[in-house]
Symmetry: C2
Subunit: 208 residues, 2 copies
């Protein structure tokens, strides 16, 4: 027992380090040896827990997606019991996503890495996001049919929102790289634009 008493949570520690490394150095730029060295363990330990590098990435994605889903679920329940309008519910979800991204900046790195075409993690992300998207689409279409929401192409709208979030993630990282500290302004601005766009598209009570 050279290591400190981290007996039970090696898995989590590896996941944390992997998230950071995948997010900053990229998947190809991450070596299991380096990752292990940074944790004071041997590469074989990582492989014991995660079988292969690829599946380590999958596990990282899984955990992050899980957090996202949990957070969204929570917001959804809250806003439902709160009894807001459709539009208020959408707004709460968007705000939650941005809050999550700002609270855990490492997520932005992973999202960026993983949303690259040809990324090995892209498929895994899709697996998690697709049911979310499908569910949102069905809900929106129902609301539209009931006249509580303005009619648009739900699929395209969701995709547009998603790509906006990814774009914002990249933006924040670029600004950080340029030395601009935790300036909230650009993020808030983008969020405002996204919300305005969604409101225009969805809220039947919105002007214009």
């Amino acid at each position: 027992m050279a290591t400190t008493g981290t007996r039970g949570n090696t898995r989590e520690l590896v996941l944390d380090a992997a998230l950071a490394s995948f997010g900053t150095a990229g998947y190809d730029g991450t070596s299991l040896d380096d990752l292990a060295a940074g944790l004071g363990i041997r590469k074989q330990t990582i492989l014991y827990h995660f079988v292969s590098k690829r599946r380590l990435l999958d596990s990282v994605v899984d955990r992050c997606a899980g957090e996202l889903v949990t957070a969204l679920e929570r917001v959804l329940v809250e806003s439902r019991t709160g009894g807001g309008t459709d539009w208020e519910r959408v707004e709460a979800m968007v705000r939650e996503v941005f809050r999550l991204a700002l609270d855990q900046p490492v997520l932005l790195g992973l999202l960026r890495e993983v949303s690259r075409p040809n990324s090995p993690g892209a498929v895994r992300v899709r697996i998690h996001l697709e049911p979310l998207m499908a569910r949102a689409r069905r809900w929106m279409e129902d609301e539209m049919a009931a006249g509580r929401m303005r009619r648009t192409d739900a699929q395209l709208l969701l995709l547009s929102a998603y790509s906006t979030v990814v774009g914002v993630a990249t933006e924040i990282e670029v600004l950080r790289a340029a030395g601009v500290g935790p300036t909230l302004r650009p993020v808030v601005q983008r969020r405002g634009e996204l919300l305005r766009f969604l409101r225009r598209s969805l809220d039947p009570a919105a002007s214009l």
Copy 2:
């Protein structure tokens, strides 16, 4: 002479292929062997022309930055002889950048790869962009002093515009990965937002 008569332009062919590969697979994800195989040549031929992988990336960045500078220079000259207002000149530049990005989507991939924190190409990009930025900043500050432009933090404004462009690049790539074809709408929308933002910040004749 197993190869076709491409005698003189191997360099350019390699640069093209490298641009595509760096943009899609990333720097680490690109192997010189694969790159060469795709061109029907041997890896050593690439190294003969570019000395090292790192300097190949530099050369790719150099060429792209060169194209950008040339294009901007041209727009600048045109709009100067055309005798437009400051604001019209800014708008023309922004439109040119977006046009370039849409004409050559591969550039987006490279920009995305290279504007990642810790990217080996980041420094090279900075080398090319810094004089451009400095020049724009000086110009803007002069115009502000002369009262032809609304007063703001020029540096921050430029950085914000730059990060927006990078963000848009990412957005487009994400949409493409999601199977959304050459839908122009999101791009045009973002461009509109950027232009509106710049106009609000710069144009003394702008309302609000």
